[in-house]
Symmetry: C2
Subunit: 327 residues, 2 copies
């Protein structure tokens, strides 16, 4: 586990239990790929989604920690499953500096390992969640897949639609953040008003998180984030900073992007780096960061409506911190 | 729908409703691949698994047809999802004479379409099944994935282990047949004794079904089954007829199989055809068919223990028919 949560020792201790549950789930003797999959699960980072679920649950009174931790493990398994399949889809050789699962065990096995993780996620959630929350999780996965498909089908078109972009990241990222906070609160019977406030706050935090993630693809240094700069553009993705750059100088940007081609890696890599710096010059990342800040402000407003508690502070602090992160 | 069920008009009518439910599920405006996925769902054939579920439910008194039909749709969606991912894994260009989904829409989209189908299956089952049956379905998918992975990892080794073969087909095929019959009966509260009998019968029918399926890969003509003869061997799979041939003439068969190599399609195709006819000469298919017959006999014995009814007759007839099928 990273030390991202070291400022919240109670939450950190809970997340350690969640990690132990995830490991116990994957360490299934009947599952032939347990070692490689375990490594993939370890490489996923900050455990944001299970943390949100646990934070959400702390707004209720009826929280049974063990059941909540199991559901938190389920939601992280879901995230790992989507990452495993995403890496296949993006043909990403690495994930956080380690080989991605399909790079280490092959595409076929990684498809099946992802399916196995999905089924384990569903099993855990059907064992420990209220039926309505288990159903929401299933519905959510369908929505995540639809968003990923829409995004994939739009690749290499570089169409500057803010609306399409926001709808896509809502489906692929914000919906899961939103569900995590909401489901935690709902399982702990926090009451409809608090649950709905957390649902909205989760959505806004997720939107800001994904926008920042997309900005970092423009700004970050390869040796820090361990992935090439301009990777999204090279993959044909049109994220928010690029959309604003296209709006600022359509013909100029399009001339560069015309050299991003699926079938020419060298031309694509050069064009992606050029498009990246030009988009920054055109103010694309600044405008995008303003949008992220707006979503974070909305989240902070929602969080202000919650009953006062240390969890409320933790959540507000988290929202700010995710906006400020540099990688 | 095929005319496979034309002898059982009541069942056929139910299955038509199941097909309509599957179509209504896939025809989701938020799902960008609905047309291609609909075509994939139509190409899956006899609707055996939903039929087993409906037959199982008819042994109980509490069957609510609409709920059973929804669960039957869920179990078929699960089957379609596994076929979509299987075709990616086997790199199969065709499925029942049509383009396989990944061949028509690309691997990436097909991975996501399969995930979408899985999530829809879970959603339907969590909406209409008893929680214990919904959990069984999730557990089953994990087991199916594990079996597929074991099978995939063993490819090109041609190790003649009947035990490994039986364990693999139990996980990837028989378990779903078994669950379908059992879950139908359990949802309709057929009583523990009948439910357990159906569980065993489903397992035996499934084992016989898969053995026959594997035999047909040796015997069938390309223009009838619409896939190349010896396809399993060419893919490095060691199914029961080949296992018996290896036991009858290890050195001879191994000499042929040494020419089956992932990286040489022409050599592999020739060797697969040669291995196929040699395995038949060595009695591999005859011995395998004897095993299938034994599983069918066991199924018939179990079916004989069920309370007398037209459903019992349908099930017995189905078990025999699946054993006799020529393609």
């Amino acid at each position: 586990m990273t030390d991202f949560w070291s400022g919240s020792p109670a939450l950190e201790a809970r997340l350690e239990r969640v990690v132990a549950m995830i490991e116990a789930t994957i360490d299934d003797r009947g599952f032939p790929l347990r070692e490689a999959t375990m490594a993939a699960a370890e490489a996923t980072g900050k455990l944001l989604r299970p943390a949100l679920l646990i934070i959400g649950s702390s707004f209720g009174r009826a929280a049974e920690p063990c059941r909540i931790d199991r559901l938190a493990a389920a939601i992280e398994l879901l995230h790992v499953a989507t990452l495993v399949h995403d890496d296949i889809i993006d043909d990403a050789p690495k994930r956080r500096g380690r080989s991605s699962l399909h790079a280490s065990i092959g595409v076929k096995e990684a498809v099946l390992a992802g399916d196995w993780l999905f089924s384990r996620c569903f099993l855990l959630s059907s064992e420990c969640a209220e039926p309505e929350n288990a159903r929401s999780l299933a519905r959510l996965i369908a929505a995540v897949c639809s968003s990923e498909i829409s995004q994939d089908l739009a690749k290499y078109r570089f169409s500057p639609s803010v609306r399409f972009y926001l709808r896509t990241i809502a489906g692929k990222t914000a919906a899961l953040f939103s569900l995590a906070l909401y489901a935690g609160a709902s399982e702990a019977k926090a009451g409809s008003r608090t649950e709905q406030t957390l649902r909205r706050a989760g959505y806004d935090i997720g939107m800001a998180f994904q926008i920042i993630d997309d900005i970092l693809d423009f700004e970050s240094l390869e040796d820090v984030v361990q992935k090439p700069v301009g990777k999204d553009i090279a993959e044909g993705l049109c994220t928010l900073p690029l959309i604003y750059a296209l709006k600022a100088d359509g013909p100029g940007m399009e001339a560069i992007l015309a050299r991003v081609r699926k079938d020419d890696a060298a031309s694509t890599a050069r064009a992606a780096v050029e498009a990246t710096s030009r988009a920054i010059e055109l103010g694309g990342t600044v405008k995008a960061r303003n949008d992220a800040r707006r979503f974070t402000s909305r989240a902070i407003t929602e969080i202000g409506r919650l009953p006062q508690s240390s969890s409320r502070d933790t959540l507000g602090f988290l929202a700010e911190r995710l906006l400020q992160r540099a990688y």
